[in-house]
Symmetry: C2
Subunit: 334 residues, 2 copies
């Protein structure tokens, strides 16, 4: 039962997706407050057949709110999450601000819903690439521990927000028309190009996105020893993320066993038709709730039978962000 839901960052790509998902899942709070910066105040956003006006986010925005989904960036979360919890709301935060805090549950509902039992008013929604990989790997890890993963991502523009998606479109149009390329949201040309994920690089050589995938997975899986090597790359795709994942299990496992486990795993659709040559693709994963998993095969580079390779695509805006947050909301409110 939800009396009053606030969506902070309602005009962003994730916020809009959340508004859309609410309706589809039949979630009908008594009241919804769409909040954003003053710049966006007054914008109308359709929620369940009604156009709701966006209100300016302020200190008094959370009076009477019982749940608030934050998707407005880490700074906004740091500034307003405590305001919301002080007003009595439970915050589901999509930023990275609180994910690694010891007293903040970091939850993928298909993996660790039990972690929602104890919290201090803030629940963190994991990084999009983390969620998509976790949904595919957890069902396997549960039955045969994954000792090590090597991941390479193919991340869509949507991960950097609505303006980044628009930049990919408009810059690609400029490229095709031989107009000069002006990078804006991204530091480098995104049209017909790809680049190492543009987050800061730490002293160990890993960028923040890669570090998130490592640290968050360890927290979500309750397995601080799982070894993860990862390279995060931005590709000129609009909205679904892809990941090439190489797994080393504790015990031998076959591709058939992996396929069987994933076929009945929640949030997973196995798309692995060698005959029809149908495998996960971002355009197919876009707008879908399930993460698609395919190219499941025994890794020939691990002759002891403990290696599996697979390829995953998941909608970054849905399961990678808004859907996961709303699934958390459903669990909290049920």
């Amino acid at each position: 039962m939800i009396n009053h839901l606030a969506i902070v960052g309602a005009t962003g790509a994730v916020g809009r997706e959340a508004c859309d998902i609410l309706t589809g899942r039949g979630i009908e709070p008594e009241r919804i407050s769409l909040l954003a910066s003053s710049r966006s105040a007054g914008t109308l956003i359709p929620v369940g057949g009604t156009d709701l006006p966006v209100l300016e986010l302020a200190e008094d925005s959370f009076a009477g709110v019982d749940y608030a989904i934050f998707s407005a960036g880490g700074d906004r979360s740091k500034q307003y999450a405590s305001v919301a919890t002080a007003a009595g709301a439970v915050v589901i935060d999509n930023s990275s601000a609180f994910r690694m805090d010891r007293d903040v549950p970091l939850v993928v509902p298909e993996v660790n819903p039990g972690d929602l039992a104890v919290h201090n008013g803030i629940i963190a929604n994991p990084n999009c690439s983390t969620i998509i990989m976790n949904v595919a790997v957890w069902p396997l890890h549960k039955v045969n521990r994954v000792e090590r993963m090597v991941i390479s991502t193919y991340q869509a523009a949507s991960g950097a927000g609505a303006a980044a998606m628009e930049e990919l479109r408009s810059q690609t149009g400029d490229y095709l028309a031989d107009r000069p390329i002006k990078p804006g949201v991204f530091p480098s040309q995104c049209a017909f190009n790809l680049f190492s994920h543009n987050t800061p690089i730490g002293p160990d050589g890993y960028n923040t996105e890669e570090r998130k995938m490592i640290d968050e997975t360890r927290k979500i899986f309750h397995d601080p020893a799982i070894a993860i090597g990862v390279t995060c790359v931005r590709v000129p795709v609009l909205r679904a993320h892809s990941e090439s994942i190489n797994l080393t299990f504790e015990k031998p496992i076959t591709a058939g066993e992996v396929r069987d486990i994933l076929a009945s795993a929640p949030g997973v659709e196995v798309v692995d038709d060698v005959e029809a040559r149908r495998f996960p693709m971002p355009i197919d994963a876009s707008g879908r709730d399930d993460c698609m998993v395919g190219r499941i095969r025994q890794d020939v580079s691990q002759p002891d039978g403990r290696g599996i390779e697979l390829f995953v695509c998941g909608d970054q805006l849905r399961k990678g962000a808004a859907l996961n947050a709303i699934q958390i909301l459903e669990l909290l409110a049920s």
Copy 2:
């Protein structure tokens, strides 16, 4: 000394690149025959300031030819390579037709030039993704054996030829203009999408492109035991391939050692400026001879210090195909 050079498939993306590279490297055969199918006969292609007409490839095309570069697909190579060698030519074949033949050298000049010493008239040019990875990994393997690699590729449209590059451009234009998408060269939408490499999949679950990277590397490195797990993916980039590579060495090695080795390796440019956030990108690698290597870091998932992660970009049409063939030509003719 080259008297008469034939370029078979002169109107294709690789053939045209070969014509361009010849001039740049000061290679001036007495005579050049540009050969292609009857459909392309009469086309004029600039070679060293002169427009040369394309002639129809036929049984009598190789009279007097001493070297022939074939880039017209495996079927054409199977049909005409023996015709060329019977006429006395040495064939440098860019197709996969002969690569794994025991008596055909498979050569990356930076890696195994010595293999050119013995041949039966045919030299095979390796797969583009193989070459680009080999140039980056061989200098390391030479000093500290690579036991295992896990590779994920980000392959440009150019690998499927000039028509595929044009399809990516035109289909992207269609997408942006909301016109219907009609896949042609590629079986799936390439605009703002990516997909598992569209080569046939064998009984072990690996597609032909992946299998080539494994088998060819073992042959080129003279190391049949090197373990390679690989996933090949086509991305909406026009002409340079990228590869995310995770290495396991026999003995511990540091990122600094790797950077030092690669800094003086032939055919490699280290582009790894964490400060300026400059790393390899396909648009920078396009039109360049060297393969760019960056994101060099100790793999945190291999705590014994034997793991390194890196990211490589190389021009698929140049080092991945035409340039490598011409480097072989130079070695043969020197």
